[in-house]
């Protein structure tokens, strides 16, 4: 229980730290977003007071106030979910984020689960049939998949399946004119649009998952307890699921934290290629339009999503492995 309490208490702390970092990036970096915006406006001949007023309206920052005051204002704003006003879309940043967050989460969660399941199945088959032809072929395939970045798959799929064969749409998350409802039309439209991004994102991760699983599986299969389980006459199914699979998957679970981070960050490129209206897509749009409030809002929310995602993964890890410990060690 102690572990869960500790883990839960970490969340607001991390979010606080990330918001501070966001503020630092906005305000302190030489040539940071708002310095540039200010310069731009001044160059356009806007009077200095108006520039400050405008920046204050865009993001809860008064450029003339002392730094600590600006920091407090910003943090209070974040706590109230006020992330400023988007310049290019002309609506509150938080509205844009609320609209796009579900799409990003949908992409990442679906593709990560698919990747994990397919990779684990292939990897364990390889481990069972180590040295077989299947093993050699899939190992080669896995190495190849690891060397192709997901956006290359995205570009190739888009080129062949969407532009040349026109089997899939080339942008957006749903068809225009299909309203969000619990209807079949809506769901099929969503799946139709998400199919290619999810496929590209899944395929590129399968290789490393399968190779990892293969390595772990071979290691576990050589353990004495598996031998003992065989001698006890347990059924093959039981050995495969309870003894081998469980112990082989566990070490991969710790990598999940990094994995979610990489994949969430990766949506920036993926969504931009597919014009899929998630957080990453809006972030790039904001960068291209010099829309700094929206850009920093996207950055903050992507980070918070990662923090929460890792938290959930950690909680389920506790369910799978009861040995979870706080990990404090003696000092030498």
């Amino acid at each position: 229980m102690n572990y869960y309490l500790k883990r839960t208490a970490q969340i607001p702390l991390t979010i606080f730290a990330v918001a501070t970092l966001t503020f630092g990036l906005i305000r302190l970096l030489p040539g940071g977003p708002f310095t540039q915006l200010r310069l731009e406006l001044l160059q356009q001949g806007v009077p200095a007071e108006q520039v400050d007023a405008r920046i204050e309206a865009l993001q809860n920052i008064r450029p003339d106030a002392p730094l600590w005051q600006q920091y407090l204002d910003y943090m209070v704003g974040v706590a109230q979910l006020d992330l400023g006003q988007s310049i290019s879309l002309n609506e509150p940043v938080i509205d844009v984020l609320a609209r796009s967050l579900p799409w990003t989460v949908f992409l990442v969660v679906t593709s990560t689960i698919l990747m994990f399941v397919v990779g684990v199945v292939i990897g364990s088959l390889q481990a069972y049939w180590e040295g077989s032809r299947f093993d050699r072929l899939t190992s080669g395939g896995s190495i190849f998949l690891m060397s192709v970045p997901y956006y290359i798959f995205a570009v190739i799929f888009l080129f062949i399946l969407a532009f040349q064969l026109q089997l899939f749409p080339t942008g957006n998350a749903v068809d225009r004119g299909v309203d969000a409802s619990l209807s079949l039309a809506y769901f099929s439209s969503v799946l139709h649009h998400a199919a290619l991004p999810i496929l590209a994102f899944t395929i590129s991760g399968i290789g490393s998952t399968a190779l990892n699983m293969r390595g772990n599986g071979i290691q576990v299969l050589g353990k004495e307890y598996v031998e003992v389980a065989r001698l006890r006459g347990l059924s093959n199914n039981r050995i495969a699921t309870r003894y081998v699979a469980r112990n082989a998957i566990l070490p991969m679970y710790t990598g999940l934290l990094l994995l979610i981070g990489f994949r969430l960050g990766g949506t920036v490129v993926l969504e931009e290629i597919f014009s899929y209206p998630g957080l990453g897509y809006y972030m790039i749009q904001a960068v291209n339009a010099n829309d700094y409030p929206l850009m920093m809002g996207c950055f903050l929310v992507i980070t918070v999503t990662l923090v929460v995602g890792v938290y959930i993964a950690d909680l389920t890890y506790g369910l799978i492995d009861p040995r979870i410990s706080a990990g404090d060690s003696d000092e030498y």
Partner: protein
Amino acid sequence: MSTEPDSAAEGIDWRSEASNAEMSRRDRLSELYEQKIRVPAVVAWSDDRTRLGLLIISVYLFMALVDIFGLWRDSSPNQADRFLRPFENMQYPLGTTNSGRDLLALIIDSTPFILLMVLAGGVWATTLAVAVGTLSGYKGGTVDTVITAISDFFMAIPGLPLVIVLAIALSPENPILLGVVLTINYWAGLGRSIRSQVLSIREASYVEASRTMGTSTPRIIIKDVLPNIMPYVMVNFVLAARYTIFAAVGLYFIGVLPYSGQNWGVTLSNAYYQGSLFSMQALHWLLVPIIAIVGLAFGLILLSQGMDRIFNPRVRTRLTGESESVTEDTDTSTTEMI
């Protein structure tokens, strides 16, 4: 083979050698060469993957040399007919773009840049990760708590969005700076997995022996701990390098990194957005940079797989034909995934 298959035994090498006073310096050097260079090299070379990997990487090094010594023409617009297909005109073996640039020249032009960036990213990420991971894993206690908290924080920030924000502020056009920026928080995750390896090493009896003898912490870390995690670090260096090139090309592709002159990512982006998406005529323009990127990553991964074979004692014993398999509880590389 006479070498100890158990990696734990390598940790005490320096001690047994040091205590052996009759051994001349020359003998020791030749033994060191035998153990650390020749044997691993032979094992590595016996693996097809290493051979192929090295071959691929040397092709890229060759391309970099060609560019440095100016052995191939620089790319410029209208140097040839537009949209030449590959191998259509052997003067421009890989074909040309919509503005008549020689594609091979485009690829060769940016090879030194890409290699330098990849090297910088890999070195930065792994060095920092090793420093942080060994220190926090070995010292434990408060040092560990503080370092873990800091790296937890950095792990909580997704890499690419952070790089995008930093790129706006820093405009990294220098390949070394770019490599560092791209892997700005890569060290955190890698450092974490190195830490967990060090945690098990520090309980090993030979480390305990060193501690009892009063050996200083830096010396224990350098002599006892580092040699044991080196294999893991080498493999992860390659993976960090792969991450750097993927991230760089991805960000160039969507146009958020500043650039002067074209590189693989920019070429890919131009090919994609300037029409080769709609016509088969310009397909090669899209494929050439893709092959350049995938080829480099493929070479790196083959190399890391081959290196795994030298370093992983389990695989090495099998290779040398010993029946006893050494079970070692290594954390499988968690940073292998993107």
